[in-house]
């Protein structure tokens, strides 16, 4: 039995297989409508989410399965002090697969230690968010036609942004990837990511503070939100939250085939005027998220 806790739990071959399956699901959805009939997905969301929870639930429903779960820790026995280990051992009696989001980093590892059914990490604090990574990879591959030979700009909160960390982990395994890391100094990529991932894999990268100075170099611009919930200090959050705003003027500096991705939700970091630019594909990315989670559920349940 396999879990998905970190993107590195999957080999590039396994990732390629999931992306291929997701592409087939996109092309021939009818083929998959009943494949999970009788199976149940439990969504255990100790932290609120719109897209990730609904996306997992939509994926299971599209496959003909059922869903159950909770959408905040207040609605679960966690509010009474129940441990993750006990909750998981209980939910294993009700479901066939679990998608779990938890504000504490490493919680899905604890869950996997006690689970008799596959665990999908749907985000653990500022640590990992592997299903978003699969979504991002599928979006890039489907829209760009490749996952290698890319200059990828990561912009915004690179310190706490788990989607950024997970995507970097995944992309360094492909050939000729260059990163441009755009952030204020306080929100730079943690040193362990620089040293243990980029330097270790001989990946080219530069750090920049101004988005407009690097726009013309990018094949992909991955925008992120400065997340209020990651700050202990409100003042720091207010100072950082509007550091980057992507607007139509900045888009003029970009290549004609550059793509803008965002894990969403966005607040102010992408001006709504950018939405109508064909290079802005963050809402398409949401749809790819459903396909890739369908593919993941099928893979982890070994139904393919």
């Amino acid at each position: 039995m396999k879990h998905l806790i970190s993107p590195l739990d999957l080999s590039t071959k396994e990732i390629d297989d999931i992306l291929e399956l997701a592409e087939d699901i996109e092309k021939r959805p009818d083929k998959y409508t009943d494949i999970c009939k009788g199976k149940k997905l439990a969504t255990l969301f100790y932290e609120s989410s719109t897209r990730t929870r609904l996306s997992h639930e939509a994926a299971m429903l599209n496959l003909g399965g059922s869903i159950l779960g909770f959408s905040s820790s207040d609605a679960s026995s966690a509010a009474k002090g129940e441990s993750v280990a006990d909750t998981i051992r209980t939910v294993c009696c009700y479901a066939d697969i679990i998608a779990m989001r938890h504000p504490k980093e490493g919680a899905p590892i604890v869950a996997a230690n006690y689970s008799s059914i596959p665990i999908i990490n749907a985000g653990d604090g500022g640590h990992e968010h592997p299903t978003q990574t699969l979504t991002d990879l599928l979006t890039i591959r489907a829209e760009k036609g490749r996952l290698d030979n890319l200059t990828v700009g990561m912009c915004g909160d690179l310190k706490f942004g788990r989607t950024v960390h997970s995507l970097i982990h995944a992309l360094v395994r492909y050939r000729n990837i260059k990163f441009i890391l755009i952030s204020p100094e306080e929100l730079r990529l943690p040193s362990y990511m620089l040293q243990d991932v980029l330097v270790k894999h001989n990946i080219k990268y530069i750090q920049a503070e101004k988005l407009e100075e690097v726009m013309s170099e990018l094949d992909i611009l991955y925008m992120t939100r400065v997340q209020k919930e990651r700050f202990f200090n409100e003042e720091d959050y207010i100072r950082m939250k509007d550091f980057y705003i992507l607007d139509a003027d900045k888009m003029k500096m970009a290549k004609s085939d550059m793509l803008v991705l965002h894990p969403l939700p966005r607040v102010n970091e992408i001006h709504p005027e950018v939405d109508k630019d064909p290079r802005a594909i963050y809402f398409k990315q949401v749809q790819y998220g459903v396909y890739v989670r369908m593919a993941l559920i099928l893979t982890l349940l070994e139904l393919i």
Partner: protein
């Protein structure tokens, strides 16, 4: 200057070349306070190699102490194993691959900060830099800085 004499031991350990000032930390990590045996701590002893050093002598059966943790604290410490008052082995210390419940993860976002009964586990991720990372959140610690 007068010389302090601490008698030899029949069976047990002499931990030598402990950096001066670290002996009480090691006393704690090895849980020596819980052992019902004779322990001598010598602080700031003269050392040609180190200037000054600490030494710990422990009289106990040699399977009573897990020495792996010493490698984590400082793998340059000399461990002499004594039987019948004779040094029968000088054990080389190495960095242990994992350390359990020795240091606690300080990341307030780590699941270890709230989950009851969860062991604090750090895994050796870079031997050359003596780097360990929390199994759960990947928080970094350097063994020699602990």
């Amino acid at each position: 200057m007068s010389t302090l004499n601490v008698g030899g031991i029949l069976e047990g350990f002499v931990l030598d070349h402990i950096p001066a000032g670290k002996s009480m930390q090691i006393y704690g990590y090895l849980n020596l306070d819980k052992l019902d045996c004779c322990v001598a701590i010598i602080k700031n002893a003269k050392s040609n190699k180190m200037g000054k050093k600490d030494i710990i002598k422990i009289e106990c059966p040699i399977d009573h102490i897990d020495l792996d943790i010493l490698g984590f604290i400082d793998h340059t410490i000399t461990v002499n194993i004594i039987k019948h008052k004779v040094i029968v082995e000088k054990r080389q210390l190495d960095l242990p691959k994992e350390i359990i419940n020795i240091v606690h993860c300080k990341n307030p976002r780590c699941i270890t900060s709230i989950e009851q009964g969860l062991e604090h586990i750090f895994l050796l991720t870079d031997k050359n830099k003596e780097t360990y990372r929390c199994k759960y959140c990947e928080e970094k610690i350097i063994s020699r800085n602990v």
